[in-house]
């Protein structure tokens, strides 16, 4: 509190930090059940995803490969023309391959091989066989450096944080695009979120959620979200106003215009925003390790503290591999947006 008698204008001291701290204390006390719920949910999600990626179960491998089979049918040109029965058969065979891969890799006690295969196939189907090949080499290198388990932990953290950031960012971006007031309010908040040194977020989240992956994840969400909001707002605003008018002129209600016109036309730009979100989330990984998130970040921090170059470099390289993989996959997905595809069709 500012008390007039104790405030010396010539030697000013306004204790912003203390106010924030006391407000924050009040918030954590008042909303403890909510915070616990969030914390439990996030850590459960993280634990199950990271253990699934490190040591996939039989069921998961079957589902994963069946999904890849379905993806192949929709993405590869020579499979797309197959009749429904043929595509169904491919999905079934892919599921069986997944089961086989699980049995084989469990036998060899090398579950990472099955996952590398899955990542490589995904890379092939959304991008090219060359990228699939790159994925095999790069991910095998990660495993060979002894970083596989940590890389999967980091990947889990990044995926969950980026997913939450995206889920929050897109509706907020749409709202900001529709309402100038919201846009004006949101913009400085986003500036604040992006320019505040990311490490600062760790302090209150650490107090609120305790040591572990959750404070890192929440800090990552806060730090990574702004480009998602900005890109979405920009993307919606950039949609040709005449096309939106066409929707209105034929009597389409606003939500339907959003769904049928604005979002599809804005999708490539929104995807670019999601790409940014993921990259920022990856860049937070090391910081998250400082409050106890396991994964590659922790290895980098340990390398720094022990001045061990090899440890730091190996973990750092694994982060780079993840970044390249995620970036290329998301970019390829953006390229497969219906609008982009339709604009490329030539007889």
């Amino acid at each position: 509190m500012i008390r007039a008698e104790s405030f010396d204008p010539l030697d000013p001291r306004i204790e912003v930090g203390k106010w924030v701290d006391s407000t924050f204390d009040w918030l954590t006390d008042t909303f403890e059940p909510v915070l616990n719920f969030i914390s439990d949910g996030l850590s459960t999600g993280y634990d199950s995803l990271s253990s699934a990626l490190r040591d996939p179960s039989l069921a998961m491998m079957i589902v994963l490969f069946a999904l890849l089979g379905w993806l192949a049918c929709s993405q590869l040109d020579n499979l797309r023309s197959l009749p429904a029965a043929g595509r169904g058969a491919i999905v079934v065979v892919a599921g069986a391959v997944g089961a086989g891969a699980h049995v084989l890799t469990t036998d060899l006690e090398a579950p990472f091989l099955g996952m590398i295969a899955a990542f490589a196939l995904l890379g092939w189907f959304v991008r090219s066989w060359l990228f699939g090949l790159f994925t095999v080499v790069a991910f095998y290198l990660v495993a060979a450096m002894g970083q596989w388990d940590r890389a999967m932990q980091t990947l889990s953290l990044v995926l969950i944080a980026a997913a939450i950031a995206t889920i929050l960012a897109i509706p907020l971006g749409v709202w900001a695009a529709k309402s100038p007031t919201v846009s004006q309010v949101v913009r400085p908040v986003l500036d604040f979120m992006q320019t505040m040194p990311a490490m600062v977020y760790l302090i209150p989240t650490l107090i609120a959620f305790g040591i572990g992956v959750v404070p890192g994840m929440i800090s990552t969400v806060i730090f990574a979200m702004p480009p998602g909001v900005r890109f979405t707002e920009l993307a919606i605003r950039q949609v040709d106003s005449e096309v939106v008018e066409a929707g209105q002129a034929f009597g389409s209600p606003p939500f339907r215009i959003l769904r049928q016109i604005q979002l599809p036309l804005a999708l490539p730009t929104i995807m670019a925003g999601i790409n940014q979100v993921i990259m920022l989330a990856l860049s937070m990984v090391v910081l998250a390790a400082m409050v106890g998130a396991s994964g590659l970040g922790l290895e980098v921090v340990a390398g720094l503290q022990g001045l061990q170059v090899p440890r730091g470099v190996e973990a750092g390289l694994a982060v780079v591999v993840l970044a390249i993989y995620l970036d290329r996959v998301v970019a390829a997905l953006a390229d497969r947006a219906p609008v982009v595809r339709a604009s490329r069709v030539r007889d």
Binding site: E242, A249, F250, I261, V339, S343, V345
Partner: protein, 431 residues
């Protein structure tokens, strides 16, 4: 009942719009209210459009015509005034009700086509029906029919990016037609197309209109287009409608100097028809008459030739020449039927002046003007045609602007940017 009726429409952008409207009603000018920080886009627009009519609103860019058309389907809310669609005031209805009106009664065609790039041609054409909730099979069938109407059979599964500008706008037109509404708003629909395609689209629209009989409100900055399409034309300037009338009324009886200057550059030979300049036929003989009667008539009129028309039906049979008549009299023929020369230069009364020059040059006699039933309704002597042209030139030389564009209208329309205007805007004070 009028299909569309606008009554005292105002659209003012910016702050204090209502104050601006009040001042405008009290006689303030557009510049006066600009001091309030308000931009008056449309000022006191009133008109009625009858069912089946093509009503063209024309004006320069910034004259408020696009704003006006967007008030007619409520895309922009009028600041003041009323719009009645089939008698219903759409200014004061709920959003849901307004959407209903748009679905059922009004469709729209856009300057830059406004197609959905990620949908195929047939899906685009079916868009309005999709919004109306028509089930998939039926809407694709109806979209298909609309595409056939505009000549796009076989293009259903293409994407808009694969189509030329003219074809894209045909899809836009098909989408509006498939919607099944009686009123069509066309906002500079052909302005983004190149001149030849534009002309083709205009012809197609006129042809479609003759069978579909929609109520069309067409916005354009191109006076030639307005003249070609419009049953009636409203000329807008600085947000106000300065004249409403048929093409001929606007041309021949401009409401003020502004309109007069505006229309000065119009290629009148593409607007005025043979019927507008023809004169009564002087040399006419009865086709069933005997040669003596014909000779008498021709001698009286001092004519060397005469048109032979039916006595009762006034149908043009051909032309008789003095020498043949004299010979027939000598031979003692009973009728002139044998000596009527059917090779006579004749034109339909709706032929544009531009298309009269060639036949007129070839024909030794004045051109015969006939109607749908081939009845002789008048003649156009070469001198009449030339003096009609001369009078346009006179108008042009008394005005304070560059010489008339004597080329074809296509040349005049050869403006790549849609917001450019073909006609020359007036300079300075025209009062």
């Amino acid at each position: 009942m009028a299909a569309v009726r606008a009554e005292g429409l105002y659209k003012v952008f910016g702050r204090r719009a209502d104050v601006a409207v009040r001042q405008l009603k009290e006689g303030a000018s557009r510049d006066d209210v600009a001091k309030l920080g308000a931009t008056a886009a449309v000022i006191d627009a009133s008109f009625e459009v009858q069912p089946g009519e093509i009503f063209v609103v024309m004006g320069l860019s910034g004259s408020g015509k696009s704003t006006l058309i967007r008030m007619l389907n409520g895309l922009w809310e009028a600041t003041d005034g009323h719009v009645y669609i089939d008698g219903m005031d759409i200014a004061n209805i709920s959003d849901a009700r307004l959407r209903q009106v748009r679905k059922e009664k009004i469709s729209m065609v856009f300057q830059h086509f406004a197609l959905l790039p990620h949908r195929t041609v047939v899906q685009n054409a079916a868009y309005a029906l999709d919004i109306q909730g028509v089930d998939k099979e039926e809407r694709l069938t109806r979209a298909q029919e609309a595409l056939e109407l505009v000549g796009l059979r076989g293009w259903e599964d293409k994407y808009p990016s694969q189509l030329s500008g003219g074809m894209k706008q045909r899809v836009g037109l098909a989408r509006a037609l498939a919607a099944g509404s009686d009123i069509m708003l066309m906002d500079e629909a052909f302005s983004a197309l190149d001149p030849l395609i534009r002309r083709e689209m205009q012809d197609q629209l006129v042809q479609l209109q003759s069978s579909l009989n929609k109520t069309i409100i067409f916005i354009t900055h191109d006076l030639n287009e307005a003249m070609r399409l419009g049953d009636r034309i409203a000329v807008m300037r600085d947000g106000r409608i300065v004249q409403i009338g048929t093409a001929e009324e606007v041309l021949n009886d401009p409401a003020n100097d502004y309109v007069a200057q505006f229309v000065a550059d119009v290629d009148r030979t593409r607007v005025l028809t043979a019927a507008n300049v023809m004169e009564p036929a002087q040399y006419v003989v009865n086709a069933e008459a005997g040669p003596r009667e014909a000779q008498h008539t021709m001698r009286e009129r001092q004519a060397s030739a005469a048109f032979a028309v039916g006595r009762r039906d006034r149908k043009l049979h051909g032309v008789v020449h003095d020498k043949d008549v004299v010979n027939a009299v000598k031979r003692g023929d009973q009728s002139i039927a044998a000596i009527i020369d059917p090779n006579v230069g004749s034109v339909h009364q709706d032929t544009y002046l531009a298309d009269l020059f060639a036949p007129s040059a070839e024909s030794p006699l004045p051109l015969a003007v006939i109607d749908d039933e081939k009845r002789l309704v008048g003649v156009v002597p070469r001198v009449t045609l030339l003096s009609a042209m001369a009078s346009f030139v006179e108008v042009i030389h008394t005005g304070e602007h560059p010489p008339v564009n004597t080329g074809s209208p296509e040349d005049a329309e050869n403006e790549p940017t849609p917001d450019e205007v073909v006609v020359v805007p007036p300079r300075g004070g025209t009062a």
